[in-house]
Amino acid sequence: MSEITKDYTIIEAGKEEKNYWQDLFVYRELFYFLAWRDVLVRYKQTIIGIIWCIIKPLLLMIVFTIIFGKLAKFPSDGVPYAILVYTALLPWQFYATSLTDSSNSLISNTNMVSKIYFPRIIIPTSSIIVNLFDFVISFLILLVLMIYYQFVPSWTILTVPFFLFIAILNTLGSGLWLSAINVKYRDVKYIVPFIIQLGLYISPVGFNSSIIPEQWRLIYSLNPMAGVIDGFRWAILGNETQIYMPGFILSCFVIILIFVTGIWYFRKTERTFADII
């Protein structure tokens, strides 16, 4: 039997799959095709198609600008309030839609999970890509808004990809957790809309996080989206807003924790997905 250990894939009961990450590379084209499928499907059979990903943040921006900017008169540190809100809506919309998609992704691909082998992590990950696509389009709208308000961003706007990367880690981490739990407990479909609804108000989307009293800011930063949104504001609005460093670092720490435990939990449970989905 000893001659057959080298070229053989060995599946052993109770043992971790050895070539998991290697398989992930082998199946990269599947990842690409699934993401491409989601992009193709998203706006099929809609009349105005891609305009939807512009309308949603624009309407929210208008509502928040009126309520928080005009009625409640929250400070905006000299930045047009609409831009202040829209800057936060970029990562927020990305987070909200990605979380919904990725938490449902395994369930909506039940057939594939129960009939085909591939590293399951591909599914929730690829479902986020389509939202990146929307993100880019929404970002272009931001540039249009800047021209309209004659707002000149500083060099820091070049750091947006870094903060986007943090946003992706956060989304992916939560998505891995929720999609894996969703396989067993369908309660997730009630929890996610709740997280999103609540999160929109407790995250600094409609207001600047500088209005949070100093002694509460560190605790406030336990919300990972607070760090992400502050980062986006700092990058896009430049020197007009100051980033609160301890809070930002704490948020990043929480995000890394969610991401690492997300991968851990997903890997731990994925071997049973096909049995219980």
Partner: protein, 422 residues
């Protein structure tokens, strides 16, 4: 010969939950029952009990390069579980599997198809799902389209395809895979006869190229034609491993014993069955009103179903007569007779009166009985419900016995005197 698959002491266990007491049909029942338990803690502790169930256990076999292995056995014997374990879809609970080479599994037709996408887009998507790279799909694209015969519908969303086109496209993609090991689960059972032949020819071709095939089917004729090696499973264990002919013979002789000895109530049902109504007995009743399993095929007979309904439901009945290796005749009350039965709660019987079949001498079975509303719900499904024999068939009293050796049926005919053309 190199061994490409080595399976040692393989086992797969599932935890199944038993609920004591009646089955909950509605959410309301479930809630009220749970509330009762909440207030009445003493009576019903441990409403759910978990039990281990070994779908397969202690399976050991080897497959050589180029082998075409037919895996046969009754429903619930563990055939599909073995395919899923080898395809890495599910993880084993004990034992090891060693595999050399790329495995492509085809457990379902069109996995990953998206209805909104066009045929062309789905070729790329499904190809990737089955493990092909973009370059590989591009290279084979024209062949796939030609094989599926869908040239004119490439840019039509597959939701507008007929079911035949859909299946043809799906199989065309799958059959252009070039894995070292191909794992196939009964997908040939769908599609029209001509296309089935094409698929078998294609699988034959694939095996001649030296690839290894693992194939699960209930159709013994296809197994016999396609495979050289057979593995017979029974209740999750290997009953026989060896040349395919012997495996099939063993299976057939087991079926008769099994059908006689295992009551329909105790059969394992596929999990998609609602079981709101169950087939509890199938019997053959001859002209004289006797219940028996030897028939004279020149006389009419009745197939009687006894059905236990747990509520008032509507359902159609479907069954096949099978010659122990493949289905011969299908009787479908919904599709061919447009007949649905209204079962009342309790025991119901339905008779299907069959005119003389002129089946030739040999053993047959009533296989694959189904209670269902087409396209909606399957209430119950049973394989190998009943075996019966036709003793001899000599329709013209010539003393010559027509048997399965010559044909499966006899058709009433008449030879006319020869005429001389002037």
């Amino acid at each position: 010969m190199t061994q490409v698959i080595q399976v040692e002491n393989l086992g797969k266990k599932y935890l199944i939950t038993h609920k004591t007491g009646e089955v909950y049909l509605t959410m309301r029942d479930a809630i009220s029952k749970n509330l009762k338990n909440l207030f009445n803690k003493t009576s019903n502790k441990g409403v759910d009990s978990k039990e281990e169930f070994w779908a397969v256990r202690g399976i050991t076999f080897n497959v050589n390069e180029g082998d075409r292995v037919g895996i046969i056995g009754r429903n619930g014997a563990g055939k599909s579980t073995i395919l899923k374990l080898i395809s890495k879809i599910t993880a084993p609970s004990e034992g090891t599997i060693k595999i050399k080479g790329r495995v492509a599994s085809l457990l379902e037709v069109g996995t990953g198809f998206h209805l909104e996408l066009t045929g062309k887009e789905n070729i790329y998507l499904n190809g990737a799902v089955l493990g092909m790279g973009k370059a590989e799909i591009k290279r084979k694209f024209d062949d796939i389209v030609a094989f599926a015969e869908i040239e004119n519908f490439l840019d039509t969303p597959v939701k507008r395809y007929s079911s035949g086109m859909y299946i043809r496209l799906a199989f065309a993609i799958a059959s252009h895979l070039e894995p070292e090991i191909l794992v196939v689960d009964e997908v040939l059972a769908v599609g029209d006869l001509q296309f089935q032949k094409k698929c078998i020819a294609r699988m034959d071709e694939v095996s001649k190229e030296g690839r290894t095939i693992l194939f699960v089917s209930h159709n013994m004729a296809i197994i016999n034609a396609l495979c050289n090696k057979g593995i017979l499973l029974e209740e999750g264990k290997t009953k026989f491993i060896g040349p395919v002919n012997n495996a099939v013979e063993e299976y057939i002789s087991n079926v008769s014993v099994f059908a006689k000895n295992t009551h329909l109530i105790d059969r394992i049902r596929p999990k998609e069955c609602s079981l709101k109504a169950k087939i509890i007995e199938v019997s053959i009743i001859t002209e004289r009103g006797e219940d028996q399993d030897i028939i004279d095929s020149t006389k009419p007979f009745i197939v009687r179903f006894t059905i236990d309904a747990s509520a008032d439901i509507n359902s159609a009945i479907l069954f096949n007569i099978n010659d122990m290796s493949q289905d011969l005749i299908r009787f479908d009350s919904a599709l061919s007779s447009n007949k649905y039965f209204s079962f009342k709660k309790g025991i119901n019987t339905v008779d299907c009166k069959i005119k003389p079949t002129y089946l030739t001498q040999g053993n047959y079975k009533i296989d694959f009985c189904l209670l269902r509303v087409p396209n909606e719900i399957v209430h119950d499904q049973i394989h190998d419900a009943l075996t019966f024999s036709v003793l001899d068939l000599d329709p013209y009293n010539t003393g010559f016995n027509l048997s399965q050796k010559y044909s499966r049926f006899h058709v009433d005919h008449e030879w006319l005197e020869n005429k001389v053309r002037k």
